[in-house]
């Protein structure tokens, strides 16, 4: 398997998620050995390296993990205090706009508004923005162990929701489960990726060079 045949997503994950002293050594060894191996082998090696690394970081940095959970909770609380009033003010504006359109003969607007369930959409947007921002904060404050700290925070979200019996204010159980177990983790990770992408851009690396990996210079050579 040559450089162009390598699975791009696995390569990107390896480059983005892996941390620790032997990061560059592991990536270099997987790249070197992959030349005589299959794509499946590359995926297996990449995922194993990521999970082994993740487990080690969490075991070795328990205090940091606790700190990331506390910071995440504080950031989310502050953001929701700020976001709730500003986002909920959008709903009355939508009501006014809808009334104006109805008065001007555009009856279909109400049907579409009902279909889109504006209230739920505002709630989802608020939910997503809160978690993206929280992920971004945690990633910025825990630079060498981003993946482990984001994972600790995501586990805390799951534990909290399971412990208090799903507090999220969504209309149905399915919607609540999707928001807690799928949307929230993805948003937290997206926030982490955005924080990481900012770092790469500021250190002069283009997104393409990160994706190609094979032709790039190591980001930080370990001692």
């Amino acid at each position: 398997m040559n450089a162009s045949q390598r699975p791009q997503i696995a390569t990107w994950l390896l480059q983005t998620v892996l941390s620790g002293r032997h990061r560059e050594d592991i990536i270099g060894d997987i790249l070197e050995d992959s030349q005589e191996r299959s794509r499946l082998w590359f995926w297996r090696q990449s995922l194993t390296a990521i999970f082994v690394n993740l487990g080690r970081d969490l075991r070795e940095h328990k205090v940091l993990a606790l700190r990331s959970v506390l910071i995440g909770t504080a950031v989310l609380w502050v953001l929701h205090r700020m976001l709730i009033p500003s986002l909920e003010s959008l709903a009355p504006s939508a009501d006014t706009a809808s009334r104006w359109l109805r008065e001007n003969g555009l009856q279909g607007v109400d049907v579409w508004r009902a279909r889109l369930r504006l209230g739920d959409s505002v709630l989802t947007v608020r939910w997503c923005l809160g978690f993206v921002a929280t992920g971004w904060f945690i990633a910025k404050l825990h630079r060498p162990y981003v993946t482990a700290m984001l994972t600790a925070y995501i586990c805390a979200i799951f534990a909290w929701e399971l412990f208090i019996g799903f507090s999220a204010p969504f209309p149905s159980t399915l919607s609540m489960m999707v928001h807690v177990f799928v949307v929230a983790p993805l948003c937290v990770l997206a926030g982490g990726v955005v924080a990481g992408a900012g770092t790469m851009i500021s250190s002069g690396r283009s997104a393409k060079s990160v994706a190609m990996l094979g032709a790039s210079t190591p980001r930080h050579m370990s001692a």
């Binding site: 060894d29 790249l31 070197e32 050995d33 082998w41 090696q45 390296a49 082994v52 790039s216 210079t217």
Partner: protein
């Protein structure tokens, strides 16, 4: 008196692979050596997790070698077993040999 830490089975395997490879012991050949010996695919990430643990215990030392194009410009990290590591392997070998010889079911090569 300081309590002695025993080697785990995978730690012992990795140490032996590093000793066998001598000057050429970096991630890829170490993994290949273990694969050849055990007949199982080895995760490079697990090999490095073990090497990091052995390094923290002072049983192996490492140095950075030359970067190569096939590694995307990354340098190889070579490992060597320290004197303390060699003593640890020898003590483990003696302990295992003693235990091995005391098991009648394993004598004569029949399982």
């Amino acid at each position: 008196m300081r309590r002695r830490e025993y080697l785990g089975s995978f730690e012992l395997v990795v140490l032996l692979a590093v000793m066998r490879l001598d000057r050429d012991a970096y991630g890829v050949p170490i993994s290949r050596e273990i694969e050849t010996a055990t007949g199982r695919e080895v995760a490079i990430g697990s090999v490095y997790a073990t090497l990091a643990r052995l390094e923290a215990k002072g049983l192996v030392a490492s140095h950075v070698g030359e970067p190569t194009a096939e590694r995307g410009g990354r340098a190889k990290r070579y490992f060597t077993v320290t004197g303390k590591g060699q003593r640890e392997v020898r003590q483990t070998q003696q302990a295992l040999r003693f235990l091995w010889e005391g098991v009648p079911q394993l004598q004569g090569g029949a399982a």
